[in-house]
């Protein structure tokens, strides 16, 4: 599903990612861990083709990203749902409208949007907050809204960039459990995090980074760098 082969990303003299190689299979649930600045977000941005690698090759769902024309980038991103640490919700739109946005860009009709958004808001336990604006929500609710937007269009891959970073422990667990449930629906779920409690307790595959290098890649791994 996702392949990184000797991928490096440099900003001048600084290596954000250094010859990283790994494969993520379809339907996998894994963590990418490491301290701040270790390259976790760089991997997410490379998968989304927000940035280009300085060297190496990236494949997502069989597509070589270096060969992907700019006008085809939206097609790639429609296969990927993203949960952002800073939520990236539109402040002037309600929870329903923010989630519906992911379906509107696909050109879905009103009836389908109504149905799908209703279902996903029930899944993330936000049905009673549909008409609330982001400013009226707590941190956990904001992140669940972001998660709902990421999965409403039924993407093959869900990327979560520090999804628990701005949340209290209980809300962080709630989000992680939801991501695990989404994985059970057959989605590939990749979580970039430095929340060692969650990583250690879930016993999933862990790709660990330090200073841009992959220092370990283990099934049922743990988070060593603390």
């Amino acid at each position: 599903m996702i392949k990184f082969k000797n991928v490096s990303k440099r900003y001048g003299e600084v290596a954000a990612l250094d010859k990283a190689s790994f494969k993520i299979s379809s339907g996998e649930f894994l963590f990418i861990t490491g301290p701040s600045g270790s390259g976790k977000t760089t991997i997410i941005r490379l998968i989304l083709r927000e940035i280009f690698p300085s060297s190496g090759k990236i494949e997502v769902d069989g597509i070589d990203l270096s060969q992907l024309p700019t006008k085809k980038v939206p097609d790639l991103r429609r296969k990927i749902g993203v949960v952002f640490q800073d939520f990236k919700l539109l402040p002037d739109q309600t929870v329903f409208e923010n989630v519906a946005l992911a379906l509107k860009v696909l050109g879905k009709d009103e009836a389908e949007i109504e149905k799908e958004v209703g279902n996903v808001l029930k899944l993330v336990d936000l049905a009673d907050r549909a008409d609330f604006f982001p400013a009226q929500l707590a941190g956990g609710e904001l992140q669940r809204t972001c998660l709902a937007r990421a999965v409403v269009s039924k993407p093959k891959i869900v990327l979560a960039d520090e999804p628990t970073g701005n949340l209290d422990i209980a809300s962080g667990w709630q989000i992680t459990k939801l991501l695990k449930e989404i994985n059970k629906l057959g989605k590939t779920v990749v979580i970039a995090t430095h929340n060692f409690e969650i990583v250690d307790s879930l016993k999933a595959r862990v790709i660990e980074l330090d200073k841009g290098k992959v220092i370990s890649d283990k099934e049922k791994g743990k988070y060593k760098v603390k």
């Binding site: 006008k71 939206p74 991103r77 990236k88 539109l90 992911a102 509107k104 860009v105 937007r149 269009s153």
Partner: protein
């Protein structure tokens, strides 16, 4: 499409002053364009009126007899340059005068048939013969004054050409200003919504999905500006028509046909839409880099 219209309307509603500035500059441009188009079309029509009526009018001295008039008519026909002649007696001149000024009793007072001269209206076969015919008439002792339209036509030609040049230049200049205003306003809109655009890009929105509401906004400014300017021009024209009709006595120019005005509306909306579309497309392309 419905979504895009909704987003466009939201953009406009949230910054009404920017929207008002864009529409106002469009109205100004199209108002001036409409005025110049109407003046240019009108003067072209007047020119055509005079060109298709190659006439010379000779006014007779009061003591001129009908024999002298008939001799002159025969002489003119013999010259081969004349299509027809028509004698207008003092009494006929008075009734024409009364008809032209029937709404202005002040002008009718004190005017009798004796004050007005009898005249001979001579239609030349071609406008180029007007000078020759005028020369023949000026050589006759019973003729007091000769007027013919060659000078009028020349003056009109020069006026029409100048109106076209000045009006065209002014409209191009204002069109350019409108275009730049659209560019700046849409650019500001895009810059203000940069965060929203980034989110849309990350969730897989195509460039066209992002661009469309901004392009619709440009089209809205162009079309609404053109329509309001056309409406204002038409109202002004309807208000001024009675005054212009008496000023252009005898020249069948007014009222302006509704089809002409509808054509003008269609043309202006088309140009407005073009300015709005191109301006907003360039702005979005420039700011979305």
């Amino acid at each position: 499409m419905k979504n895009h219209f909704k987003t466009t309307w939201t953009h406009i509603r949230r910054s009404p002053y920017q929207a008002a500035a864009a529409v106002t500059i469009m109205v100004l441009t199209f108002f001036i364009a409409s005025i110049f188009i109407l003046i240019a079309a009108g003067s072209q029509q007047i020119l055509h009126y005079f060109e298709t009526r190659p006439q010379v009018t000779a006014f007779f001295k009061d003591e001129t007899t009908m024999d002298q008039v008939e001799n002159l008519q025969a002489k003119l026909v013999a010259s081969g340059k004349v299509e027809s002649t028509k004698y207008v007696s003092k009494e006929e001149a008075l009734s024409i005068y009364r008809e032209q000024n029937k709404d202005d009793p002040l002008l009718l007072e004190m005017v009798t048939a004796n004050i007005l001269p009898a005249s001979l209206e001579v239609s030349a076969k071609d406008i180029s013969h007007l000078g020759g015919v005028a020369e023949i008439l000026r050589g006759e002792p019973e003729v007091e004054e000769v007027i013919f339209q060659e000078e009028v036509v020349e003056a009109l030609r020069s006026w029409t050409s100048n109106i076209r040049k000045i009006g065209g230049g002014l409209v191009i200049f204002l069109g350019l200003v409108s275009f730049l205003i659209i560019l700046v306003i849409i650019g500001m809109r895009v810059a203000a919504r940069r965060k929203e655009i980034k989110i849309l890009q990350l969730i897989g929105a195509t460039s066209w999905y992002i661009r469309t509401p901004f392009v619709f906004e440009g089209i809205f400014y162009g079309a609404v500006g053109a329509f309001l300017a056309w409406g204002a021009t038409y109202l002004l024209l309807l208000y001024a028509t009675p005054l212009l009709v008496s000023f252009l006595a005898g020249i069948p120019l007014l009222p302006v046909p509704i089809l002409f005005m509808l054509g003008l509306l269609g043309g202006e909306i088309l140009v407005g839409v073009l300015i709005g579309t191109i301006g907003s497309l360039i702005a979005v392309k420039r700011y979305l880099r």
